[in-house]
C-alpha cells in the first residue's frame, strides 16, 4: 500500500516545515555573527499566534475570513502531488506539475483579494505587487516544468521523478526553478520577509491586516509552501541522490543568497524574471538537442 506512505510523507513535511524556516534563519544569523533565536522559534510563534485573540477590521467581508483557509488548503493539497521521499510516493490522481502551479495560484488569488478587502493602501499595494510578480513568475515556472518533463514524456511528477539518467536540461531547469522558488517564497532579492517597511514589502503588506489564528494559518502555509518548492527541485527536477542532503543544500543556498544580496527594486524583478525565462528556454533548447 502506497497511500499511508503518502499521508505519512505529508504529515512529516508539515511537521518539519517550520523547522526548515528556523534553520535558514539560524544559519543567516550565524553568518551575520548574531546569536538570533533558536531553530524552533517558528513553532513558538505559531503557538503564540494560535492562542492570541484575532483583530479583524470591520470593513472586511467573508473573503478576508476565508482566504487563510483556502491558502492553507491549497498548499496541503499540493503536498500530495509531490513525491518527496521517493518516486511513486504521491497520489497520481491528484494532479500533475501544471495542476500544481494552478492549484497554488488559486490560493494566491484569494489572498490577493483579501489584501484588497480591508481597504488599506498597504494591502492593495501588496496585492498589486504580488500579482505583478506572480504573473511574471508563471511563464518561467511552466517552461522550467516543461523542460524537466520533456525527458520523461509526461508532466506527471511520478514519471518525471523516475527518469533514470540525470539530464543536463533538468539541471539548467532546476536553476530556473530555484529563482522561481525565491519569488514564490518571498525571499531576497525579490521580496523580504523580515521587513515591514512600506516601500519594500510585498507579501507582508498583503497580509498586514491579519492577526492571531488567521495569521498563524498563513505563516504555516508559507512554511509548507517553502518545503514544497524545495522538494520540487530536490525530488522531481533532480531526483538522484539523498533527498535530505539536497534539501539542506537548497536551504543553505537560500540563506547564503539572502545574506549576500540586497533586495532588488520592484521593477528590476522584471529583468531577473527575464533572465530566468531565458534560462528555462536554454533548458528546453538543450532538451531539444537531446541532452
Amino acid at each position: 500500500m502506497r497511500d499511508p506512505l503518502v499521508i505519512l510523507q505529508a504529515l512529516v513535511l508539515i511537521a518539519v516545515s517550520p523547522l526548515v524556516t528556523g534553520m535558514i534563519r539560524k544559519l543567516k544569523n550565524l553568518i551575520r555573527l548574531r546569536k538570533g533565536p533558536g531553530i524552533f522559534q517558528p513553532y513558538y510563534d505559531l503557538a503564540k499566534l494560535l492562542r492570541k485573540e484575532e483583530a479583524v477590521s470591520r470593513d472586511t467581508s467573508w473573503v478576508f475570513t476565508c482566504a487563510p483557509y483556502i491558502v492553507l488548503g491549497t498548499v496541503l493539497a499540493a503536498l500530495f502531488i509531490i513525491p518527496a521521499f521517493g518516486p511513486g510516493i504521491s497520489f497520481d490522481g491528484a494532479g500533475d506539475l501544471i495542476a500544481l502551479v494552478f492549484l497554488l495560484a488559486l490560493g494566491r488569488f484569494f489572498i490577493a483579494l483579501a489584501g484588497l478587502d480591508a481597504g488599506s493602501s498597504f494591502g492593495g499595494m501588496g496585492s498589486s505587487r504580488e500579482m505583478f510578480i506572480s504573473s511574471l513568475v508563471e511563464p518561467v515556472a511552466l517552461l522550467a516544468v516543461f523542460a524537466v518533463s520533456l525527458a520523461a514524456g509526461s508532466t506527471m511528477p511520478r514519471a518525471v521523478a523516475s527518469v533514470e539518467t540525470l539530464k543536463l536540461s533538468s539541471l539548467v531547469a532546476a536553476g530556473a526553478l530555484f529563482i522561481v522558488t525565491l519569488a514564490e517564497t518571498s525571499r531576497i532579492p525579490i521580496d523580504n520577509r523580515e521587513t515591514h517597511l512600506e516601500l519594500t514589502m510585498v507579501h507582508e503588506a498583503m497580509v498586514l491586516e491579519y492577526s492571531g489564528r488567521s495569521l498563524a494559518l498563513i505563516e504555516l502555509a508559507s512554511h509548507i509552501k517553502q518545503v514544497l518548492f524545495f522538494s520540487v527541485i530536490a525530488a522531481v527536477a533532480l531526483p538522484h541522490g539523498n533527498y535530505a542532503a539536497k534539501m539542506a543544500a537548497i536551504a543553505i543556498a537560500v540563506a547564503l543568497l539572502e545574506v549576500s544580496m540586497a533586495k532588488m527594486r520592484l521593477f528590476r524583478v522584471v529583468d531577473l524574471m527575464g533572465f530566468s525565462f531565458v534560462f528555462s528556454v536554454i533548458a528546453v533548447v538543450i532538451s531539444a538537442m537531446g541532452f
Binding site: 485573540e53 484575532e54 483583530a55 479583524v56 477590521s57 470591520r58 470593513d59 467581508s61 467573508w62 473573503v63 475570513t65 476565508c66 483557509y69 483556502i70 488548503g73 491549497t74 496541503l76 493539497a77 500530495f80 490522481g93 491528484a94 494532479g95 500533475d96 501544471i98 495542476a99 494552478f102 492549484l103 495560484a105 488559486l106 488569488f109 483579494l113 489584501g115 484588497l116 478587502d117 481597504g119 488599506s120 498597504f122 492593495g124 499595494m125 500579482m131 505583478f132 506572480s134 504573473s135 513568475v137 511563464p139 515556472a141 511552466l142 517552461l143 516543461f146 518533463s149 514524456g153 508532466t155 498586514l208 491586516e209 489564528r213 520592484l266 521593477f267 528556454v281 528546453v284 531539444a288
Partner: protein, 595 residues
C-alpha cells in the same frame, strides 16, 4: 426544401449541434436576465424593440451554425451582424453608442466582404453553394488559390472573432450594448467565427501547409497577450471584459492553430486533443464571460456607473451578484475547481505532448507558446483580482456605490445558473471532454483518441474540497471571539475610501513593466489658489492604443485623402455629369459590340 434554386436544408451534424448548444446555453439565461435588467431602464416601445431584436439575433446565430448552404450562411451572417448593430446603437442618444456602432458596422462588413469573396471563389470551383459540394470540389482547387482562400477566411472570421489586429471594434461595440446583449455578443456571437473556421477551413477546404497553423498560432499569441494587457489597463468594467474576450479568443485560437500544426505533422491524435481543448475553452468562455457580463450589468444597473474607480464595497450590498462574479473571475483566471482551468490545462498538455513528440526548433516553439499562455494566465489572474477586488471589496468609493441595491431575482437566477454551470463543467470535465473529443474528431476527420484526461477529475475535486473546507472552517469559527477594529491606519484617525488602492494604482507595476507595448502617458491638471496651495489636482493615465494609432488611423486618413481626390471629378455641374453619361454609353456600346 428548395426555393429559388437554393437548398435550405439545415445541418444537424455534431459540430452544428455543439454550437447550437452554446448559443442556447448563454442566450436563454440572458433573455431571462433581460426581464429584470430592462425594467425601469427602457420604455415600453424600446423594450418591445429589444425583445424583437434579441429574438432575431439569436435566431440568426442559430441559422449561422446550422445552414448547409453557403448562401444561406452568408445571409444569416449578415442578419446576425445587422441585428447586433442595432442592439449596439439602441441607446442612440449617447455619442459613444453611435461611434461604437459605426466602427462595428464598418469592421464587420469588411469581414463579411472578405468571407463572401472566399466563398465565391470556392463555389466557382464547386459550381454550387452547397457546402457538401464545395467539400467534394476542394481537391480540385490549386494550392496557391487555397492559400488565398485561407487568408481571406482568416481575415473575415478573424474580424468577427476579434483577433488582434482586427479586434478594434470589439472593445467599443460589446460594452455599449445592453448588458444581456453584451453577454450574448461576447459569449456567443464571436464564437460563430470559430464555427466558420472549422466548417469552412477544417471541414470544407481542408487543412493546408504548415504555415497556416503557424500563422494562426502567432496571431493567437498576439491576441492573448495584447488582449489581457489592455484589459489590465482598463477601468471601465464592461470594456475590461470585452478586452478579456480578445484574450480568450486567442486561447481558443491557440487550440485551433495547434490542431492544424499537429495535423500537418502527422499526429492526428494530438490534433484532436488540441482542438478539443480549443472547443472546450470556447464552451467555457461562453459560460463565464456570459456570467461576468451579466454581473457587470447588475453592477451598472445598481450604481449607474461602469467605472470601477467609483465602485467598491458591493460584496455587502449585492452578495449574490458578488458571489457569482467571483465564481466567474476564478473561472476566467483558469483556476480550479472551475471549468476554465480544465481547458487551459488541456491546451498546455497539447503543447507539451506536441513538444515531446517533435524535435528541433518546433519543440522550442511549442514550449514558448505554452510559456506565453502561462504568462497570459498569470496576467488574467492579476486582471480579475483587480476587477473583483476594486469593484466588490473594501469601502464604496462613491455615493452611488454606497446606496447600491441587490439585483432582482430575474437577474440573480441567470447569474447563479451560469455560475453553477461553470462549476459543473469543471467538476464534470471528463464527461464534457469525452463528448467534445468526439466533436473534435468529427471536425478533423480523425478517430477519437485516449488522451490522458482521466486524472483531471481529481484536481478539480481536490480544489473544490479545499473551498468547501475553507467555507466550513469559516462557518465553524463564526462565533469565535475576534476583536472588531478599524483597518490599520498608521495611527491617523480612521481611513476613508480615498485612502484605498485604486484600479489605476493596482495595474501600475504592469503598466511600467510593459511600457514598451502600452506606451503610457499621463495628464495632470492643477488648480491653484496660490503658489503654495493647490485646490484640486487631477491625474489621469492613458495607454496608447498601438493598433488604432499605427494601423487604423493612417488607413482612415488615407481613405479621406482618396475621397478628397475623387471629389474633383464630382464638381456638381450638371453639364459634366451629362458628359459622363454620354461617355459611359459610348463605351458600353463599344464594349457590347466587341463581345
Amino acid at each position: 426544401m428548395q426555393l429559388l434554386g437554393v437548398d435550405y436544408t439545415l445541418l444537424t451534424d455534431p459540430l452544428s449541434l455543439f454550437f447550437l448548444f452554446v448559443v442556447l446555453l448563454v442566450s436563454a439565461p440572458a433573455a431571462v436576465y433581460s426581464v429584470g435588467y430592462m425594467r425601469g431602464e427602457y420604455g415600453r416601445g424600446k423594450k418591445a424593440l429589444l425583445w424583437a431584436l434579441l429574438a432575431a439575433f439569436v435566431l440568426s446565430m442559430a441559422l449561422v451554425v446550422t445552414s448547409g448552404n453557403a448562401l444561406v450562411f452568408l445571409v444569416a451572417w449578415e442578419l446576425m451582424s445587422l441585428a447586433s448593430y442595432f442592439l449596439v446603437v439602441i441607446d442612440h442618444r449617447h455619442e459613444r453608442s453611435v461611434m461604437a456602432g459605426t466602427i462595428y458596422i464598418v469592421m464587420t462588413h469588411i469581414g463579411t466582404a472578405v468571407i463572401t469573396a472566399a466563398l465565391l471563389i470556392m463555389s466557382n470551383y464547386a459550381e454550387s453553394f452547397d457546402i457538401a459540394a464545395m467539400k467534394a470540389a476542394s481537391a480540385s482547387i490549386p494550392a496557391n488559390i487555397k492559400d488565398l482562400i485561407f487568408i481571406l477566411f482568416l481575415i473575415g472570421f478573424g474580424t468577427k472573432a476579434g483577433i488582434v489586429p482586427l479586434h478594434v471594434w470589439l472593445p467599443y461595440a460589446h460594452p455599449q450594448a445592453p448588458s444581456h446583449i453584451s453577454s450574448i455578443m461576447s459569449g456567443v456571437m464571436i464564437k460563430t467565427a470559430v464555427y466558420g473556421m472549422l466548417r469552412f477551413v477544417f471541414m470544407t477546404l481542408g487543412i493546408g501547409p504548415q504555415w497556416w497553423g503557424n500563422l494562426v498560432l502567432l496571431l493567437a499569441l498576439v491576441s492573448c497577450l495584447a488582449g489581457i494587457m489592455y484589459a489590465l489597463m482598463e477601468h471601465d468594467l464592461k470594456k475590461l471584459l470585452a478586452y478579456s474576450s480578445v484574450e480568450n479568443m486567442g486561447i481558443i485560437m491557440l487550440g485551433i492553430g495547434a490542431s492544424m500544426v499537429f495535423m500537418k505533422m502527422g499526429m492526428p491524435a494530438l490534433a484532436v486533443m488540441a482542438l478539443c481543448a480549443g472547443l472546450f475553452h470556447l464552451l467555457n468562455h461562453a459560460v463565464f464571460k456570459g456570467l461576468l457580463f451579466l454581473g457587470a450589468g447588475a453592477v451598472y444597473k445598481a450604481t449607474g456607473t461602469r467605472n470601477i474607480e467609483h465602485l467598491g464595497g458591493l460584496i455587502k450590498r449585492m452578495p449574490v451578484t458578488a458571489a457569482a462574479f467571483l465564481a466567474g473571475s476564478v473561472a476566467i483566471s483558469g483556476l480550479p475547481p472551475f471549468n476554465g482551468f480544465v481547458s487551459e490545462w488541456l491546451t498546455l498538455q497539447a503543447f507539451f505532448y506536441g513538444a515531446a513528440n517533435s524535435g528541433g526548433s518546433y519543440k522550442i516553439f511549442l514550449c514558448v507558446c505554452a510559456a506565453l499562455l502561462a504568462l497570459t494566465g498569470g496576467l488574467a489572474a492579476a486582471c480579475f483580482v483587480k476587477a473583483f477586488g476594486i469593484t466588490f471589496l473594501a469601502l464604496p468609493r462613491s455615493k452611488a456605490a454606497q446606496s447600491a441595491q441587490e439585483a432582482p431575482l430575474s437577474m440573480k437566477a441567470p447569474m447563479a445558473f451560469l455560475a453553477a454551470t461553470a462549476l459543473a463543467l469543471g467538476l464534470g470535465a471528463p464527461f464534457a471532454v469525452k463528448y467534445i473529443t468526439g466533436i473534435a474528431g468529427f471536425a478533423i476527420g480523425a478517430p477519437a483518441v485516449d488522451a490522458p484526461f482521466s486524472f483531471l477529475i481529481k484536481t478539480n475535486w481536490i480544489a473544490a474540497a479545499v473551498l468547501v473546507f475553507a467555507a466550513s472552517c469559516c462557518y465553524a469559527a463564526r462565533n469565535r471571539r475576534a476583536a472588531e477594529c478599524n483597518t490599520w491606519d498608521c495611527g491617523y484617525y480612521k481611513l476613508s475610501p480615498r485612502n484605498e488602492y485604486s484600479a489605476t494604482a493596482f495595474s501600475k507595476p504592469l503598466r511600467i513593466a510593459f511600457s514598451f507595448f502600452l506606451m503610457p502617458y499621463s495628464k495632470t491638471e492643477k488648480i491653484r489658489d496660490s503658489f503654495y496651495h493647490v485646490r484640486s489636482f487631477k491625474y489621469e493615465v492613458f495607454t496608447t492604443p498601438v493598433f488604432r494609432k499605427y494601423i487604423y488611423a493612417p488607413a482612415v486618413s488615407l481613405l479621406f485623402v482618396g475621397a478628397r481626390k475623387l471629389k474633383k471629378i464630382q464638381p456638381g455641374s450638371i453639364h459634366v455629369y451629362v458628359a459622363y453619361i454620354f461617355v459611359t454609353i459610348v463605351l458600353l456600346v463599344i464594349f457590347m459590340g466587341r463581345f
